[in-house]
Symmetry: D2
Subunit: 163 residues, 4 copies
């Protein structure tokens, strides 16, 4: 049983450009993170795009949905910026009905010492193996069904709609 | 719903003593790891002991079983040295039949930059919320039932008995 | 013999704001860095400002010069953004003629795992103790007299004018 | 002008063996540290041995002295375990009289997040360029002449004999 991981960018994968002093995307760090986690799962990592989720277009979101529908795996983890993660989860729920899809991300880039990325990746890979078919967000050590979650921007955490 | 975390030591929590040049136990780093993971779960962390699992006594193992049985929570994560993790899992399975218990650990101390500990903690906390009643080991991004797992000491990974 | 350290900001001290996704200044990390380096020098750390050196005003630069002139110590290290470090060095050389002043900084924030900040701080504190009176820049493991150095912005390194 | 770096092991270069749970030597991390420090010096790194300095033999110490005498460079940094660093410094002072030699090391392995190694390496490379001919120890942000220094084992710091 293989887990598919789709990389779409987000804070997770931001790096520091020492010439410009700005954060930017280069290659995903998911492979390095899986090595560090000594991950023994059969994982198939594919980068779909490297974007800030606030700048994700309708077409890009549709591409993610299509990738979920067309891949062979029935268990999919998506790394995604946190700002529009809920919106993408909703689009996937509309288009994919027979797979377990878990979106995750990070509040701090993996390249920073204090990142939550490794914790979240371990969490998402575990939920995707054990939750029933459906679309979920895995953040802050919890899983949320796609239709009962929002990002609380003031606190920087995800929470249920009717907490 | 609260998750109980019992700390027992193991590689997870080893630190470097700069005066002796040896690895040793001080306080657990689980609280710091939960902060770094921005963990929003209601978690109750309790240190039962700080031991190398090769030196865990029969009495200490019995104490862990008793703690699992007597605590209020139905979902329990135990941080544990990897060398005798399977043995402790078996003892818990004998004594606790109505809870979900997940043991986890690390191959490299959290205090080292390259530790798998944060990944494993995120994984264990997720499995404990989503797996049915039973005793499991969460390592290498996978979950193993207590009676179908061994540590492969040559490779430093956990695997099914009949892989 | 005490070394005075003046903090002025720069990449050195930038942190990641997980709510806005932007880099920003909070408190200096120089004290934490000195602890990590087990620095046994008698060091007196004072934050003058926390600014990106591209935004440093004429008045702020004058304030740094005055602080160097008026402090009791004859050995001064200044942490500073790299972009206008040479300009500030020149201003100090104009105004301070009887002390050893060493400016240093970082290409990557200390909060990032891959930062050069700790290396540079160790370097600057060593040069300030062993170089004669004058104004210097300590970057890339080297010391440069204030009037024979420029930042090569394309390569992200400091170099002599007539290399 | 080139600086020669001789690697001899010590805490600096200890790594964690995740199979045995013990600290051990593999390859030196000095090259990686120089990259991280964006070191622009012309540095020639050579590993002479990888030993715990408590186990350094008389023959090995003689080999270090010979290497210092015979190399082309007049500025030499030696990475060395802290426990017998003073003893090796004395042997070098007996055998090498026309070069600047700076010994350094670390209280915590570089592989640990909290290591002082990068700070010390930046310090040693700076002192070796700016101190007169002689043999020195660079630790804790200070330089000590070889004949006025001891390791205070209780405090884990280096100090002058007549502090």
């Amino acid at each position: 049983m293989t887990v598919r991981v789709f990389v779409t960018g987000g804070t997770f994968d931001k790096e520091y450009d020492e010439l410009s002093g700005k954060l930017y995307f280069r290659n995903t760090q998911v492979d390095e993170m899986l090595r560090r986690g000594r991950c023994g799962l059969d994982v198939n990592v594919q980068t779909l795009m490297m974007v800030d989720s606030l700048e994700m277009t309708h077409a890009q979101r549709a591409m993610i949905v299509r990738a979920c529908r067309e891949c062979d795996e029935a268990q999919i983890v998506i790394t995604h910026g946190t700002d529009t993660m809920v919106e993408t989860a909703r689009a996937i729920a509309d288009g994919v009905t027979d797979k377990t899809v878990v979106l995750t991300g990070a509040m701090v880039p993996y390249a920073f010492g204090s990142s939550d990325g490794l914790f979240n990746l371990g969490s998402a890979l575990s939920f995707v193996q054990s939750l029933p078919v459906g679309v979920y967000i895995a953040m802050n050590g919890k899983s949320f069904p796609w239709d009962d979650v929002r990002k609380n921007r003031d606190a920087g955490v995800f929470e249920r709609l009717n907490a």
